[in-house]
């Protein structure tokens, strides 16, 4: 047998590789056989194709959006008039907890990661994600966590402690039953899922960019994805640790959050918001990535001051970690703490403002076309700026002390989260729908849905500012008549019904377009980035040949032909790795084949996590099947890989 070093330098043998002699239909046939997902149900479970996983993420997140939206409507019906008895106080607690938890943990972050998982490899010109099986595991774990929460809700053991589950309410003394445990364990599932996806995305972006796509030429969406994923990596361990501590306080009697035994309930708030505040930007920054791509395409020019936009993204990512205490102004802080966190909270509006000015300048300098995705961008400008301004207001401690836990805060964060993330997301769905499905969404229906969503949103959420200033607290299931709260609440409820109808219309548009929309072709918008260089929908292997990039707008600068490199194996899954900064071709590495082991591992982990709600020993005994599944996952499947040829 050859030694490893000899094998590594083995002489070339005749294996099929893409190139001038192997291109077109024959290459397509061979690459499809190599990269396709196996047929049947088991094949479906085994899929590691980032496009399938991204689609599953997005569809699942949209289902959770619909569920959380239905709860929002229930909340608004209850609050539509004073002294309403449609929903009781206890059920109302469950409903607002489920609404917030679902929106933050099961919709907002996963839908953004879903889009990132789908688009990133296409946008940077590679065949697959860095760790395709980890990526599959990420989705299954997310699905398991979401299912745990909603099955518990249906079984009437859903959490009722608010989406940030402050102890002592969520602790062993007041959080009776298993409701808070379900919440805490759902956090564990979703954080593992998000972290796994983030690691895959970072490695993909840093090591798999097309040759020539230096960091300075990377699409802004990829930059936003990189910064967001790094934020996930640095922030989510905090909440995973906190939820673990909460579970152990509840299950084995530790005292992390118990002041009677020298713990501190505020420790929870620090650990939670060290994650919770970056979380807002983890949701918002991908949306800025959508906007940068949409604005460039529909303004027919590249984004003005690209380096400044990148610096703004990075600055936002860093500053986001210095703000968490502004969620805790009313808990009592040293004076210097008030000053520092007020200053930091106001400072973070600067890089965001820079991005907005760059987008406006791009539209000013370009020839903007007001297609539906651009309408959502303009809706974003209007709504997000209002939310940003109320954010600057409540960064001031004296005002925050008055408005904390009122409907003013509810209005503020819906303006920044729906205006800042959901509007761009709806624009992004419209923009990339043709790439994913091969069909265009209806422009007419899209415009009707946009105006209904935009105006309905203002009607639903602007009056909440007034209700909050008038003193209406969050999380009350009803309010008395005669306090000036009737009209703002009624308007909000009407607005929420308009938004719900509009979202339904958006979904009807998606379904109708999927079934009978106009065929899109590869590049219906004449867009600048690489994902538009390949088929719509893309083939399993993404690109027949790996493209070469020499500008920030490769599709606009390509002319009639697209430069490519060649020489990757086509009978094995093989990726091209490039250097981190300059994207110089460096290594050819194999990519993971489809396998059911990530799914089986998720089952084992799910059993362990769910049982550990009831007994700490589940962590010990449950680790055994999870370890076996992991070993089976990692153990090489083929008897021995054939000697890998290289041409020296």
């Amino acid at each position: 047998m050859m030694s490893a070093s000899e094998k590594a330098k083995a002489p070339p043998t005749n294996v099929p590789r893409d190139g001038p002699k192997l291109t077109g239909a024959r290459l397509d046939q061979m690459l499809t056989a190599t990269w396709r997902t196996p047929p049947g149900f088991v094949g479906w479970l085994a899929s590691v194709d980032h496009k399938e996983i991204g689609r599953r993420y997005i569809v699942t997140a949209l289902v959770f959006l619909a569920l959380a939206g239905a709860l929002a409507i229930a909340i608004r019906l209850q609050l539509s008039r004073p002294d309403n008895d449609l929903i009781g106080a206890a059920r109302y607690n469950e409903i607002f907890t489920m609404h917030g938890t679902t929106m933050m943990f099961l919709f907002a972050v996963p839908v953004m990661q879903g889009v990132q998982i789908y688009l990133t490899p296409l946008m940077i010109g590679t065949r697959a994600m860095a760790f395709p099986r980890l990526n599959a595991f990420s989705y299954w774990t997310y699905l398991a966590g979401g299912s745990l929460l909603w099955v518990a809700f249906v079984l009437n053991i859903g959490p009722d402690v608010g989406w940030f589950a402050y102890p002592p309410l969520s602790g062993p003394q007041y959080g009776i039953g298993k409701r808070a445990d379900i919440w805490a364990q759902m956090v564990t599932f979703t954080e593992i899922a998000a972290l796994a996806a983030a690691v895959s995305l970072v490695a993909t972006i840093l090591k798999q960019r097309a040759p020539g796509m230096t960091l300075a030429r990377m699409p802004l969406f990829a930059w936003a994805t990189l910064v967001t994923s790094l934020m996930v990596i640095f922030s989510m361990p905090s909440v995973a640790l906190a939820s673990g501590m909460l579970l152990s306080d509840r299950l084995v009697g530790t005292h992390f959050f118990n002041p009677v035994e020298r713990g501190d309930a505020l420790l929870w708030q620090h650990l939670f918001w060290f994650f919770g505040h970056p979380e807002v930007y983890i949701i918002f920054l991908p949306a800025t990535g959508f906007i940068s791509e949409i604005v460039a395409t529909f303004s027919r020019r590249s984004i003005v001051l690209y380096p400044l936009v990148v610096l703004a993204l990075v600055a936002t990512g860093i500053l986001a970690f210095g703000l968490w205490v502004h969620h805790m102004f009313t808990t009592g802080l040293p004076r210097v703490g008030y000053s520092f966190y007020t200053a930091a909270s106001i400072a973070v509006s600067v890089p965001t403002g820079i991005q907005i000015f760059c987008w406006i300048a791009t539209m000013w300098e370009g020839r903007p076309q007001l297609k539906v995705p651009m309408l959502y961008v303009i809706g974003f400008f209007f709504t997000f700026v209002i939310g940003g301004l109320t954010g600057v207001m409540i960064a001031a401690v004296p005002l925050d002390l008055q408005l904390h836990d009122t409907y003013f805060i509810v209005a503020h964060f819906h303006y920044v989260l729906i205006g800042g993330a959901v509007f761009p997301l709806l624009g992004a769905i419209t923009y990339w729908f043709p790439k994913v499905t091969g069909r265009m969404m209806s422009e007419a229906l899209g415009k009707v849905a946009f105006w209904m969503i935009f105006l309905g949103f203002q009607l639903a959420f602007f009056p909440m500012h007034i209700a909050g200033i008038n003193g209406m607290p969050r999380r009350v299931y009803t309010y008395p008549a005669g306090l000036g709260l009737e009209l703002p609440n009624l308007l909000s409820s009407i607005g929420s019904l308009v938004v719900a109808t509009a979202v339904l219309l958006f979904i009807v548009n998606m379904v109708k377009s999927l079934l009978a929309g106009k065929a899109a072709g590869a590049d219906p918008w004449n867009a600048p980035t690489l994902e538009w260089a390949t088929h719509s929908p893309p083939k399993a292997y993404n690109f027949p040949h790996i493209p070469v990039v020499d500008s920030r707008t490769p599709m606009w600068d390509a002319g009639e032909t697209l430069g490519v490199v060649h020489g990757l194996r086509v009978e094995d899954r093989e990726l091209l790795l490039t250097s981190v900064v300059a994207a110089e071709p460096d290594v050819r590495e194999p990519s993971g084949m489809p396998t059911v082991w990530p799914f089986i591992t998720t089952i084992a982990v799910t059993v362990m996590f769910v049982c550990s709600i009831f007994s700490p020993w589940a962590v010990v005994f449950g680790a055994v099947p999870a370890t076996i599944a992991l070993i089976a996952w990692f153990w090489p499947k083929a008897p021995l890989p054939e000697p890998e040829p290289t041409i020296s």
């Binding site: 030694s3 490893a4 590594a8 005292h255 035994e261 501190d264 430069g563």
Partner: protein
Amino acid sequence: MSMKPSFTRDIAHLPTHAFSHRALTWWGLLGFMIIEGVAFAMAIAAYFFLMSHEQEWAPRPTLPPDLLAGTLFTIVILLSEIPNAMIKKATESYDVEGVRKLLPWMVGIGVLLFVIRAFEFNSLNVLWYENAYGSIIWALLFLHTAHLATDWGDTVVLWRLMKTPHGHEPRRLVDTDENALYWRFVWLSWLPIYALIYWVPRFFR
């Protein structure tokens, strides 16, 4: 592809594996080390947050942990870097036989460390449910033990795998190389935790 390709460069000559930052898995490992490092950092922050509420640390009448087991653990885990570094060197010079000889040593050292760790749990002089000090001390030791178990499990799997013909596959040498890197993270992360569990409760009484 919708556009006609123009072939610019042949990449068939590129190697099919690489060590360190040129390998994809190195970046994945780095990501997970940062995640776990942040979790440790937050647990350490929680430690100081709880400590800031106390007049004394460890709070009387609790005694600080006994030093013997923890110090012995520290010495052994520091010494384990010697075979670990030898494994790393062997992988990077494609010395499969060397790797096969050295991996069982790391498995054995892991077993020894588990035994000492059990004594450590027994020498903390506090239980996790007595007070918040006990909770955070146990949490730090539990978190580190989880890392010990993870790397030990990976080392056992690699030990068995490298004995098979797969051991000659260069990518498996890269895996072993990265497992050695992770072991460095395990012992490096132990050093601050050792100080926090064993020495800080002595200095602040």
